[in-house]
Subunit: 433 residues, 4 copies
């Protein structure tokens, strides 16, 4: 197939900077290093494994798009614990130790820079490897210096950042988030509404580093961040990786709606024992997550349009810290649906998944696609990347798609558009029902 666009393939190395280098980050890095050597398949990654139709043909994304190659990636990041990435991988017990051996030296060489850590936003963890500074503005400055040093020391031409850290306690956007000016004043005054993730994000944007947010934290989801991103011409995306239970919810709910089956209740619980679970055991941290996890059903089921089917929907989401399970999260859903004449039925879904195994390929895709967007000059919120997020960020005034297949089409049509090819199907947020 003729390459339809003139965007050149990328030269030079791409720094992938990860605030938070625990289970997800170490699984991601180890997997990329193994895949480079042909010792593992990056299953779950659209950019590496996936294809799509362009014109009359079916193409691999990796061949169609001028993406950075795996061997052009350099990994770095920050953490509040000093473990190197091999240690983090061992402690998080996601990958088998034997599997890590071939890339052990490479993993050990990747050591986190000191983290930004105001403990009031991160419950249940006690960081020991942390920056100090009189003001939040000072900390932003330190992160900026980290970025510049990393690029220089590693001979990288550019960077992207993917937040892989913990969920912070719930903080609503307020006045300090309303404008760039207010935010910068807040940094100097140590405004309590400015959390750790926002400091990383602010530094990245100022350094021209595209930033995607894998957690429910505010991070880049407020007007001042959008304003700063426009100014520095930086791409943003978020928030909260859509991995197990919510992923399924965003296909099953549309299926029930497609068939006009009613839903009276949807109960979702999760048991997990990793650091994420420990953090979410704190009610304030859970609240952040609950909000991103709960929003999906209402949007999908259009309760306004179908009050007789979805008007009484009771939706409850729980996350339970349960150490015996480690990273192997289990999501259990019960759906109370009804059909013809209101007769009740039930569906139970038990998803024995693995948190970091599902998140790692998303980190990889976002790193490559955010870099692509940045190079293509697509700045601001990348709502076409909603495919990867529980709570897709959008440009102001636009509503988010939650249905997985609408998100998939939109992502692919955006890629076609970037490459100068024709869309397949509408890419609006409206769906096509």
């Amino acid at each position: 197939m003729k390459r339809s666009t003139s965007m050149p393939p990328p030269g030079g190395k791409l720094a992938v900077l990860l605030p938070g280098m625990g289970a997800v980050a170490s699984t991601f890095i180890a997997g990329v290093l193994l895949a480079r050597r042909g010792l593992g398949l990056p299953v779950g990654s659209l950019t590496q494994m996936g294809g799509m139709r362009v014109g009359g043909e079916r193409v691999r994304l990796s061949q169609y798009l001028p993406l950075a190659r795996l061997d052009q990636l350099v990994f770095g990041g920050w953490d509040i614990f000093p473990e190197n990435v091999h240690e983090a991988a061992i402690h998080s017990k996601v990958l088998e130790p034997a599997q890590l051996e071939p890339v052990r030296a490479e993993l050990e060489a990747i050591r986190p820079m000191k983290g930004v850590f105001h403990p009031q936003y991160v419950k249940r963890l006690h960081g020991t490897h942390v920056k100090t500074g009189a003001t939040k503005a000072d900390l932003v400055e330190q992160v900026r210096q980290d970025i510049r040093a990393f690029l220089r020391d590693n001979d990288c031409t550019r960077a992207v950042a993917i937040w892989c850290g913990s969920t912070e306690t719930y903080v609503a956007a307020d006045q300090v988030h309303a404008s760039r000016r207010a935010f910068e004043a807040g940094l100097l005054k140590n405004d309590p509404s400015i959390t750790n993730s926002q400091l990383y994000a602010w530094a990245c944007i100022q350094e021209g580093v595209a930033f995607a947010n894998g957690s429910p934290n505010l991070a880049v989801d407020f007007p001042a961040a959008a304003e700063l991103a426009r100014h520095h011409e930086v791409a943003l995306a978020g928030k909260d990786f859509k991995t197990g239970q919510t992923l399924m919810k965003t296909v099953i709910a549309p299926a029930l709606k497609a068939r006009m089956l009613g839903v009276r209740g949807w109960f979702s619980t999760n048991i997990l024992g990793n650091r994420d679970g420990e953090v979410l055991d704190d009610p304030e941290s859970f609240r952040s997550k609950e909000i991103t996890k709960r929003g999906v059903l209402e949007e999908i089921l259009q309760t306004g349009d179908h009050p007789e089917l979805y008007g009484d929907l009771f939706h409850k989401v729980r996350i339970e810290y349960y150490p015996p399970r480690g990273d192997a999260k289990e999501g259990w859903d019960n759906i109370d649906l009804f059909g013809w004449l209101g007769y009740p039925m039930q569906m139970k879904i038990d998803f024995l998944c693995r948190d970091s195994i599902l998140a790692a390929p998303i980190v990889l895709d976002l790193a490559l696609l955010m870099d692509l967007a940045q190079r293509a000059g697509r700045i601001g919120t990348q709502d076409w990347l909603g495919f990867y997020f529980k709570s897709p960020m959008t440009e102001p005034g636009r509503s988010a798609d939650h249905e997985l297949f609408l998100q998939e089409r939109r992502l692919k049509n955006t890629l076609r558009a970037m490459m100068g090819d024709e869309a397949r199907g509408p890419s609006s947020t409206e769906g096509d029902d």
Copy 2:
């Protein structure tokens, strides 16, 4: 919204003829009668409850399309047992007896015509209310007379037929099915490859009655039937209502593929205790069903395109007759999937559904949409109705879509096209990934 087409709303009564008047048919009829009186909602019916976007607006299908109204329907059919529809509803234990009371007299008045019954195709049942005839051609003729008499006696202007009967033993299409001439010769010779459902279908087509097939039986899925339908300008559709487990399969498999997650195995079992379960307890009958239930995964997961993800997929489907459950079918699925670096995960789906409750709204939609197609002059196989079938019939040389959301879009785009409105998204069988 301006009605964009000139197709007039239908006048006169529409006969809905049901070969097989057991659990599904009685649930369907009772529900329509109750809905007419405002005593029940036809949940699950797109034509009654659903909407779609046309131009900039969202419209109800019932307002947008010139469909027959519920109060224009007249119900009839055939069965090999003489029970009236009230008796059938009571015996099948789908609806609560108290709920049937307001329409009891109407239900009792609907008595099946004698059924066509060659027992070698219908295992485990012993029909007592059956036609006799020297040849299969004679039986076709008797069914044709039944149809004409029914239309005359009930003052109907036209009819549609929806097969709601049992699954027949597996019979492959062979020479006798290859042409109209061969089939008619076969009728006279009592060819053993011509089953009961084919006799009904042949009679219906000759009488200009559109025919949709809710079972995996061949019925109208062979070249001679297509030829006859073209000759008589009749619409056909099939086959095998997509209700519980397969419905979910056709959204979950695409979701896994969208995310490039691998699948090693998919085990599906069903327990049910209604007449359908009893029939499917027979291995030859189960084979018919197994074929329609198994085909979906291979098509959706495109094993050829992604051998590293789906090349080893082991797919097994079982149906178990289990009387304690009656019509309340339970489908249990186990999916063995894998992600990043091949790490295994599992998903279990337990669908406590109700067979007839899920099938009844499909019967209603097909009755109204087949009638619409017939009036709109769309003859031959209605592949846009694949949304409702496990194994969608297509015109020769076309492949079927199995993914629910592609089927939904195609159905809705076809309706838009019938009404002279613009499509939303591609309607091809290719999907838009």
Copy 3:
């Protein structure tokens, strides 16, 4: 078989007094009334359906024991809402309305006496049908008068009380519960540690009415109550009916232990939507329940004896208020077990049960067996009734059995002993492993 004892069958009517006349009480009463007329089977009741071996024979409990007959029971009680029992049954949606019709008049005639209601112990409910009094002592006196009036008006020779009310907020036993004298002083001073259930219990004991406690409330589980019971020669039992999830836990945990399989974690969640669920949605009320639900595993798995198998056991119990389900509670358990060389396995148990359907036969058995114990002169805590309770009360210094089959044997051996027959197997709390 020769009746081996001289205890005479009971004459006269037995008042069954129920503090709390909601779902459980109305299901119990309606079921007994229906069973009397042969319109329903009291399934789940050992006294009505069960048998046991005595000597060489197998006997029905109802024939072996001099129990009150169903037609000798008279039902009464208290509630903080004025609904009669028919209304309560309809509102709780446990039994089908049509099924209640034959006994509707009898149910309507049973109206609760005004309840004792200090709202701080009963979260989420707002009682309207309540007693008033200056002190808690006054309220006890009013309940005593209620009891005397009920016995007189209904021509009963005696009464038993079974607590069927809500779970109260957690209140630990303290000084006021230490002796009869302290408690009576506390009643006069409105001591805040004295809850509603304790007032009913105190009144019952003073009136010589045996009292069994179906909730986790303290009620009669404190030294002053035991002292009072000895003084008035009254039988006590409790606490918290063992119905769904805990019932299964007390057979599955012993089975794992019998086979020396290890357990790393046990996660139990419950969804239910009845009034009980609403109350337990309050964290303080849940704490009462959590304590009775969590204690069972440690006792059964003897973590001290087998630290390598059970020493790290993580046990978590959750109850989630989920209105779509009403009284049809669903308990979902996940057990993380391990075997040979520590290899992990999992078991999941999904119990789609019905709260009141499982509790009603326990109320019946306790009413009859407490009456039997009282007549037999067995006073104080009836630890042989632990079979029916999540957290069996014992005499001071004795530990409770939780394993269902040990409890069953003890119950039956106690009955044999009451009747002068020989025991089968040890009845100690030690088990026989």
Copy 4:
């Protein structure tokens, strides 16, 4: 505690001979070798991990009983494939390869003797490492020579045999099994009712080797074998290891009965992908297994005593060969139960277990306990070992206990009796309800 008996601890080595050296046998052997070195715990083994009460004390079985020590065991056996035990362990994918490394040399040194293989009894397998002989009598003689040679070469004082091979096709006991004389005539005539497992068993008994049968095969479950065992004073036990689903069934069914809850249906399916699953995919082999798996419910639920609760019980058991799962069997049960007034409830149990991990400790216990029985002079059928079997063999005219806790008590009381201590609770087959 004073040792109450004079049975001396065993001197010399004990040969553990295993007909069938695949997944179960290799898991068992590797585990014992690892446990000897302190590299793994023999979890699931009562003799190694368990305790019981004797007199007033709690004792470890390993200290109480004069059992062979793990370091006195020598492993051998027969198989129809020539793989050594390390190869078998690797191929069966039960234990992690890395875990086998410390004992690799020992495992490699254990090579199966050539197997007895008439393929008509073993479907789906094609043995290559097999004995040849003109008659079945010749093959018995060869096995006897194997045993004598093994004992001599390995310096063992005695042996026990535990059948760990495949399920054979169903063969009913007939005339040839009626007496020792008839059986020996049959051996000479190659009677088709004499299967492979019977040849091993016959040889073992003649050599004075106690024989326990882990499969549903007839093996030693016929009168001629009993007669021969009496003549040679040999202990026998069987049949079919009780591991996952049936283990749970034998505690849950008694619990439902204890509470007088009714059962309308019990559906059990299993998915597994090991060699056992492959064999059981053959209908004739499945029939053997089905019989042992199905018998348990009827015995436990005493349908004769409680026709209103269990008279209509529909019980169905399925085993499905499903290669993706390997040895990690999953058993899924659905129980349709009912309570008060007949209201239906459901329980679903999903047991993600591991076939060989659950079987290995049973092999160990049986090896040690059969040796103990043999040394204690207990000959013939050891019905006190029913604890370990799906279909416990008994002496003629006695019925088997299936309830796990009755079996446990009987086992422990038998051990107490062997040691001259007092029983706890009745040991009869009657239970104590």
